[in-house]
């Protein structure tokens, strides 16, 4: 996630990182991490959440931008086997969400044209 402010829209943070902010803490699948402060309001402080969830925070001072990395909890790329939501466009710009395929088996193949 890229942001020009350490205060970000709560739903944008949730979509980008996959961590849902609930009264009991930050949750992904069955994993919930208690937070020092219950998240309230429409915005969240990225600096505090990054520390608590082990997300890297990289700053480019020249460009006035921060980039937020994924969580390091558990030491693995997947904190849970619950598939994260993924919404991406097709060639024509139509958005498609992976969750629309519940009820089917899915083989997802990532490739690159180079």
């Amino acid at each position: 996630m890229i942001t020009n402010s350490l205060t970000v829209d709560r739903s944008a943070f949730e979509t980008a990182t996959g961590w849902q902010l609930k009264p009991e803490g930050a949750c992904k699948g069955e994993v919930c991490i208690p937070l020092t402060e219950a998240p309230e309001g429409e915005t969240v402080n990225v600096e505090s959440l990054s520390t608590q969830l082990g997300l890297a925070l990289v700053h480019d001072a020249d460009k006035g931008l921060w980039a937020i990395g994924p969580e390091t909890l558990g030491g693995r790329a997947l904190a849970t086997a619950v598939a994260p939501e993924l919404t991406l466009p097709d060639l024509d710009g139509n958005e498609f969400s992976l969750s629309s395929l519940r009820g089917k088996k899915v083989l997802m193949v990532a490739w690159s044209p180079y």
Binding site: M1, I2, G18, G54, L55, A56, L57, V58, D60, D62, K63, L65, A67, I68, G69, P70, E71, T72, G74, G75, R76, A77, L78, A79, T80, A81, V82, A83, P84, L86, L88, P89, D90, L91, G93, F96, L98, S99, L101, R102, G103, K104, K105, V106, L107, M108, V109, A110, W111, S112, P113, Y114
Partner: protein
Amino acid sequence: MWQALRNELHPQGLEVVTVGMDTAGPEACRHFIEAASPEHPSLIDANHIVAAKFGIINIPNSIWIDEDGMIVRPAEAAPAPPSIEVERTNPFGGMTEFPDRATAIMSEAVHIEASPAEYEAALRDWVGNGADSVYALSPDEVIARSQPRDDNTSKGQAHFAMATHLEQLGDHAAAIGHFRMAHQLVPDNFAYRRQAWSLEPGGDADSPFARFWQGPDEGNEEAWPYDSEWVADVQAMGAANYYPKFTP
């Protein structure tokens, strides 16, 4: 490339989703997708979001997700079944002469090992047997087999995200610095390197091979902004180790 197998297994409840990861965006993927004319969802991921979310470090890679939305195999090398579509999607079809760089790449690439038949058999077993398939892993095994991630991995991912963002804003010079940081912090991530190299077209810039150059132009090495390049890196790791072997 997956179209024929997808059509065969679709009535048994399998769907294929392909995700083209390229900072250069949809137009860079268009030729390949249109040539394959997939009937399954074929998505564009200009920021490698699928890689960050699922832990993908090389391409092509695949993930299996069951009917309930549980990952049953984390990201692993995904050799496509052999098919006539490979011919149709060959971007070098119109080329009659190949530069020395292409020969150097091909002489390594032929030693890259993959097991498309074994992989396809595993996929068919899962489609037929579901959770009873030996290839469908438990949630704990899925997590344990996903890529390791430490502070450097997370920081490298953040630098890579910054690089793709700046590249898309047209700030190529600033992007290079962040690509370099991503490469240093996550040295085993080949997808980060291939993406960055592909943005430095080599040889004849109009040739379909330009983005596959993946290294410096001969005689102009000092202009190459990275410490790595495809041929030297693959020779160092050994082409046979380019993709980890399939583990049932």
